[in-house]
Symmetry: D2
Subunit: 349 residues, 4 copies
């Protein structure tokens, strides 16, 4: 931590800051310049609230030197984390595509959608059974019945399953059916939930809160990592800005930023990131071009009749075309997208 004193700071103000930091276990080094005094403080506690010093008399600015997260940082672990689920590798050379409906509605809908996205090259089925909805009057999901539908379809099509867990009380149930536990944007700072997920053995897909800074997001990942679960993938899904034409603004620059600050894989969600079907494909392409390790995309066999998020769900044929485009883009950054045979069928061009 570096403390910049004001030019007119008095000697006694400076001493009071030095003393205060000493009490908190910091070693303080003082350097007096022509214009002002700067204090360097090392040691002390990672969680020390630097704003405490910021409001002391005579203090101009305080800068933290160390990132507040540790296990999530690239300083701590320099090689990238690859999350392995059987033979699926997230964070490796292949860009993994997760696709499926917003929520499970019926057996037919889940089966039709899963079969279509699998055929196009998706390796993970997405779908919700517990839905966080901003209105209490909206469809809230089918619960366990939905999970059963999703698991069945995933198994039939040799896919992994990712599904959202909204609450500590749902971890066990969702974990019974799902391969990846998703934490929604609204729960990014539900610390009780994150702490519990740190104790499970399932990979966690942690969505960025709608207005979370990258630092806060990594601190939330730290909660899971600190609990002993190292399989965390981060998911950029759009931030809130002043622009309201799109539902959110997909922060594509977060992809290379995360790759620089952290070793964890980064997933992009162009469906929630835009909220409009006609913007999903361009933003999915952009995400892969920017280096995303995986995509998660909403597809529905009949989006105009979907019970939730229909406006941002692709038709199966749109998803198919998108996958073709992505296979052209991925090699530009030395990566590939699902080309091996599935059920005896090879993808290619």
């Amino acid at each position: 931590m570096m403390i910049v004193m004001q030019e007119q700071a008095s000697e006694s103000q400076i001493e009071k800051v030095v003393e205060h930091l000493g009490e908190q276990g910091f070693d303080v080094h003082r350097s007096t310049g022509a214009l002002r005094t700067v204090l360097g403080a090392v040691g002390g506690n990672r969680t020390f609230d630097f704003r405490l010093v910021e409001v002391m008399d005579g203090v101009s600015e305080v800068h933290r030197i160390t990132e507040p997260y540790k296990l999530a940082s690239r300083t701590f672990k320099s090689e990238r984390t690859v999350i392995q689920i059987d033979d699926l590798r997230i964070g490796g050379d292949e860009v993994v595509v997760m696709a499926g409906p917003c929520s499970a509605e019926t057996e037919e809908q889940v089966e039709a959608t899963a079969s279509a996205v699998r055929r196009a090259g998706a390796k993970v089925l997405r779908g919700g059974a517990f839905k966080p909805r901003s209105s209490p009057y909206s469809f809230q999901g089918l619960g366990e019945q939905g999970l059963q539908m999703l698991r069945g379809a995933a198994d039939r099509h040799d896919m992994k399953l990712v599904s959202e867990v909204m609450d500590v009380s749902q971890i066990e149930l969702v974990g019974k059916y799902s391969d990846i536990l998703q934490v929604g944007a609204r729960n990014m700072q539900n610390y009780t939930l994150l702490r519990e997920l740190g104790r499970t053995a399932k990979p966690v897909l942690l969505k960025r809160g709608i207005s979370a800074t990258i630092e806060e997001w990594l601190l939330s990942a730290e909660y899971v990592l600190a609990g002993g679960n190292g399989d965390v993938m981060l998911c950029e899904r759009g931030i809130r800005t002043f622009e309201s034409y799109t539902r959110n603004t997909l922060d594509i620059s977060a992809i290379p930023v995360i790759h620089k600050l952290s070793h964890l894989p980064i997933v992009a969600d162009p469906s929630h990131g835009t909220g409009r079907r006609d913007k999903v494909a361009p933003m999915a392409r952009a995400s892969v071009a920017a280096g995303a390790d995986a995509l998660i995309i909403e597809v529905h066999n009949d989006p105009e009749r979907a019970k939730s998020d229909g406006a941002q769900s692709l038709f199966p044929e749109q998803f198919d075309r998108l996958m073709t485009e992505l296979r052209i883009i991925a090699p530009a950054i030395g990566r590939s997208i699902c080309l091996e045979p599935v059920g005896g069928k090879a993808w290619g061009r």
Copy 2:
């Protein structure tokens, strides 16, 4: 809902929209102008996702006519709600001040702070026992022991108590000690929690999420109201903007906006709203001048040694001076601030 078609929309595109809305239970009225067709749709479901229509071919814009919340709206209930806890009235003529430490740390700290804020005119003691912290390595609160300290001090000084509940599992425990259950900004969209709070008989103080629109905030209140608990007060505590000099930007205009849209009382939190001790008093004064029904302010008997939020906690003498200033301002809007005798002592000017 009003649907504005594009100027070049074809007849078949228009018909497809009309048909789709009909299927969803809407009565559709079509008006064809010189340049474009506009469709008015009434009836149908309050939770219908209007974006579904927005992405249909030929559609230019869709406007919702009805607010998505109902019980929280002034349309539903035109007179203002006053929340009564024994003889304390929140939302009435008196501006109620809630004050106390960020979190309970020791018996001495709680007692010293409670006694000081009570003397200055606060009628509700604030203080946390379960703390949501962005870092897993920070102080997380004393739990039940903290609640006992707070309840004891509140009782000794004839105050009500407001304390945060972070999770469904804490409702019973916190409810046993606290008069008002606080929902933190990070939990504003924790729907499982909100739903449960709708089933309790305790008043709820619902903080605005750091990037929640006023509409989303009222929808979260709706979750509690829809469960049968009508005693919800909203609390503005700062939103996230591009400006980083202050920790958040206290949106004071939300105070008159809430008074227009809703019948629920509105509380302002200048401590979290600014994050800096030296900005708390000006923003507290501004909040009262703008019409806030109550304030919630962090005060600590020794803020420089506080375990959390010390930088934004007032010294007791600062709080005292602030209360004097507020007593001058309140009459400008026809209100008062705690002037009746407490423990035999009358406040004055």
Copy 3:
């Protein structure tokens, strides 16, 4: 400037940074800690682009120590600036109120409005003759004819006049009629204009850009100050945030922040800050309670027929009532609002 190296930074990376800073005229002090090296750099150029170092290999973070502005800072001048125009003092004990129409439309409108606001206690008439409009098809102002109307009314009612200058080419003309030259929010970073205004002898009212940080705003003031014109007042008029219920979000906390960072007076504009007539009074009261040195408020004798900004213009009787409320609030912070006699009439309570 302080440069924090990454933990794994190599010796040669560190040396490259030291060398680069040396070339730029900095004295560099190196301190090697257990985990990482931190470099302190002093001297060098105030305008050195610190991002140049930020992107060098091995660098983790760079913190600037000195504010980039100088003349505008309280470090440079610790006592507050009072701008004096004849016997009017902006930044002194009295809160000055500027009021009038958005733009001059007719002689009758200007006279009726000026006379009403003067009677209620305004000392400066506001009004535009050149209007920046987001649409090329909107009313763009009356030009010199408008300035003549405004000057005439100001003189008849013993008021000062503030009017906007949009372009270098208008400085002379507007300066001929107006006592204070206003720079609009959209022009806050029109450096050609600011530079020219630095060479005039008229006080400048510099509005904050809709998304300008406080630092950028002070840097824009610096352009005027550096040209030799010390009479700059800053005007907070609302920033753009995600919330769209109000047109902008009036950042009231900017008032105490400016008072801390700078010696310049701060004016609040609740009309543009909210964009809605029914929110102007609460936000005007809040601004005074927070310590604003002056207010600038749109009032129109017939707002429903105004050619611009009618929706945010007060009716004269609303303005009158507001002034009465403000006179109650000002003493809470040791200030007053226009109580001396005007035209033989004394205001009182």
Copy 4:
């Protein structure tokens, strides 16, 4: 325009609104539903300030039906505009790359940079001679001498030139040397400048203001188009959000949004959009993948010694590698990037 009345609106309130709209030249159609009255108003003035109605008693919400811009809209002109400068076509099948230094500094620097970017495939040289700088103490550009250097280099390498014009007074001079006149983000709402540019015959590159909505941006384009200059290209260069890790947030979704709303070509500026050299390539790739018609990228022959924007300027070899990556991506969306011979040399793979 559609006006939704409050449920409790009285008959006289409704009539007052109808009357007011009638006075303004609107035809009003009234439809009375079970719960509330909705008024549809057509005709009237495109620039009518709908907020005037919004603040009338009894009014709940007002929705505008028509976009406020006309010439810039796809409704007005459905086929995409291709801007032709000799044989260069912006908005056609080829993605055009503009590259060069932030500002002209020396003959050597301009020549070395121009030659390198031309070799890699850029067809337009970018470079500034008049620089808008947030600090008055920063390098402000070489003026006409810089323009001469840039023009010389462009001619020697058979490139077009784009350079910024900051003020009406510079149009003639910059226009003498430059093929495309750039309007910077800070000037996006400098209407005096836009209006003048509407009278020139040179193509205009209009950068999006740092916090401009897409609608405001199109309205600014409208100023130029309305003056008779149809050759406007829009340039997304990052918006201001709460995230401060990157200097700005490049809003890549603006690319497909502009393509939907307007016929004008859209350019992406990943240099200003990120502010950091190491993020330029990923964001350039993402922009092409999302459908950008052109890119504008800062490249410097010695970025570490650049007088401005060095931190975000690519080294020539980084630019070269980026162009190779872009040539892989462009075909995914049916486009190409500069493959024809330049100076006898063919690019290819």
